[in-house]
């Protein structure tokens, strides 16, 4: 009796996102038949591209790594009742700080590596904290400030690597930092495969987050703050402090995403290498699709990464254009926005009708 119930509880948060993905795939199928290609073959190619063999599987996991970390950060903020739309900026600042720390801090490679990770998390966290502080101090809406701070962060990072910290060794002057010492790299999990230690770090973060939210007092307070801030305050929760803390850790996770990407796969900060693939936005999608459930976010992050790697495989092996993946993503975004709108409407109504019927 006990076990099925537990399993049931574990899987209910997954039903909705999986359903959304299914609907997305259906829409994609329509698009594929629209361009006159066989649906089954195409999806098979996509599946192969994402999970077909060990190499593809590990590439998918590598791609999922930053998405998952960003997603966990967004999920944490959302649980506390705030929107962190600034993951991109936090991730980029984290990445550039990690790269610079690894390059500049003296000492043995392990120290460099650890320092880089800490610097990346700190940079992302503080950047998010700035937005939180502006809200608590000057009532600047987080929704807007986090979004705008993205531009500041991304442009600042571009400046750093195109100017003072540019790699001058190569022949072409690319906007990137020099390469980090090999000793300070995050090791690959399997030789020749792209998935690196960062994936393990991300999974550990997910587990830690689950445990914190579910079993600890701060996790409980974050949850109550998200569900009803008045109730939390009434019970003695320090709203401002907890919000700032949540923002900090949310940003730190995004910063960590940038750091492991630098330390585990690019080995330097390359301008645009994190923004072009849209890791941050996909991560945000993963969190929202999973209703901010950390376990759900693990699943959705891998699914969304698979969608992207699979689409590449599909393009290699069929005539279907890469854009079909965008159709599927678009449907998912529609799904999320519908859900969010509903939530917002409900939230608004709650403000007015505090009691409802008794």
């Amino acid at each position: 009796m006990m076990l099925p119930q537990r399993l049931h509880k574990l899987f209910t948060p997954l039903i909705q996102p999986l359903l959304a993905v299914l609907i997305g795939l259906l829409a994609g199928a329509i698009a594929i038949s629209f361009v006159g290609e066989p649906v089954f073959e195409t999806y098979k190619a996509m599946w192969e591209g994402a999970f077909g063999n060990f190499y593809f599987l590990t590439s998918t996991l590598a791609r999922a790594t930053p998405i998952l970390l960003v997603g966990l950060g967004v999920a944490l903020a959302f649980r506390a009742g705030v929107f962190n739309l600034g993951s991109e900026g936090q991730m980029v600042l984290g990445a550039v700080s990690a790269a610079l720390a690894a390059l500049c801090i003296p000492g043995p490679p392990v120290v460099k590596l650890l320092a880089a990770i800490v610097a990346g998390m700190l940079a992302g966290g503080l950047w998010a904290l700035l937005a939180g502080w502006m809200e608590s101090r000057f009532k600047v809406q987080l929704l807007i400030s986090t979004l705008l701070l993205n531009y500041v962060a991304v442009l600042f990072a571009s400046y750093l690597v195109a100017g003072p910290f540019q790699d001058k060794t190569g022949s072409a002057a690319l906007a990137q930092t020099p390469m980090i010492d090999q000793g300070a790299w995050l090791p690959k999990l399997f030789p020749g495969m792209s998935v690196h230690m960062g994936f393990v770090i991300a999974i550990v973060c997910a587990v830690v987050l689950i445990v914190i939210l579910k079993y600890t007092a701060p996790g409980y307070e974050v949850k109550m703050l998200g569900l009803n801030p008045f109730f939390a305050q009434y019970g003695g929760v320090n709203k401002v402090k907890l919000l700032l803390l949540s923002m900090f850790f949310s940003g730190a996770l995004a910063g960590l995403a940038g750091s492991v990407e630098v330390l585990g796969s690019q080995y330097r900060y390359v301008d645009g290498a994190l923004t072009a693939p849209g890791f941050a936005w996909t991560g945000m999608m993963a969190a929202l699709l999973a209703n901010s459930n950390p376990l759900g976010t693990v699943v959705t992050a891998i699914l969304l990464a698979a969608l992207e790697t699979g689409a590449m495989g599909m393009e290699r092996n069929t005539e279907v254009p890469l854009e079909v993946a965008s159709v599927i993503q678009a449907v998912l975004i529609l799904f999320i926005s519908a859900k969010l709108t509903l939530k917002l409407v409900k939230f608004r109504r709650k403000e007015r009708e505090v009691h409802g019927t008794v």
Partner: protein, 509 residues
Amino acid sequence: MAHRLEMRNMTKRYGEFTANDNICISLDQGEVLAIVGENGAGKTTLMRMLYGLEQPSSGEIILNGKKVSFSGPQEAISRGIGMVHQHFMLFYDFTVAENIVIGHEPKKYGFFRRKAADEAVQKLAEQFKIGVNTAKKAGDCSIGEQQRIEILKVLYQGADIIILDEPTAVLTPFEVDGLLKTIRFLADQGKSIILITHKLREVMKVADRVTVLRNGKVTGSVHTSETNADKLAQLMVGRQLQKLNERDSISGDILLEAKGITIGQKGEKPELDRVSLTVRHGEILGVAGVSGNGQSQLIQAITGLRAVQEGSVRLKGQDLTEENVLARRKAGISHIPEDRYLWGAAKDATVEETALMGSQRNPKYSEKSFIRKASFRTRVKDWISRFEIKTSSLQEKAGNLSGGNLQKLIVARELDFHAPLLIAAEPTRGVDIGAMEYIHEALLEKRNSGDGILLISSELSEILALSDKIAVMYEGRIAGILDRSEATEETLSVLMAGGKQHDATAKTS
């Protein structure tokens, strides 16, 4: 003659739980039907089905001889069924008239005709003798006025059957009388009314018939002319109600001392104006007053939810003025909030999570900030049995509890802190008479054990029954403080309406 409305064999199941079990009720034209019953008996559920907010598991609704079913409130409204929500869904920036016509505005060439709206509302108000000021902003209206707006809105939408779910819970005695008169008048005009309430005096005064529910079933249906409040009470709780226990006379040291508390925006009339009061150990200080005269601000100032501009709050001599909510809770203040859904709970949290608030960092229930759920659960289970809180499990959503059951959960939680000072705001709002008795007993017991209680209530009978001293608030000030022996409904009413203390006492002596 056929009934105007019949609900036959209505059953509503939530999973395994049956909230309504084969309930049959009928309602005639011009009739006031009261539905009473203990918390969680299924009254609200039955009404939600009638209003289309909930789909019955089985059963049928017969309206004017025809079988109907509603997939949403809009359909119920179009068939002449209206519901006055207990908390009001008004647009505070709109005028009273606009709020009433909203959704069915008089229009010409697609433009809103403000004057026509005003006139229509004016006429309606006169027709049904409901006093409102149509040009006022809804946000400036008192609770009583807001309720009248809601009733007019329902009438404007053409309702013949009007559902009122605990409409008097938030009103002052004076407003209650007005509402009861309105209800009677509406019935005389041919409207049919369903009134849910826990107050048997109201039932006896206004209803033609009473239907009693218990555990989702109808246990009796009587004409008010053939019964009385005591018999009804017995029908509801299945036993005789007890008189309150004797109070020992204790005069302890000062526990809470609030001095000159002022809250307000600069340049505006302060919401709280130099309020001073003391609560001693072993004393219940009642705070009476029409709601909206500064009681909420007083509670928030003492509990630390709102900063004060001037004044100080001391507990057992310790200055708490600059401390936050947590520090004050630790110093010994617990708090039953006036609004259970705003402050007291999170609707989407579970019963267990709602119960945990305030104990999450108590070393007894958490170890290195890991919450010890198992030991906490035994405590909650104890509350559930002591207060007879009906819930399917500890994992039930708090918002799914019936209003009274959630209230009992919150009361149990705050009492169990055993804090020296309890701030009890509307502690029995929405609970049935059995539970009210139990909560009153518990409050007295706490007082007799030497703790102090600040009791804020719009229910004068509650204030009079429990308090050792009574402070009356009017327009953000303390209008007077009376001793238990000199306080009567009359003296308090004079002060509540802005009279002077010596008027109040002179009139009665």
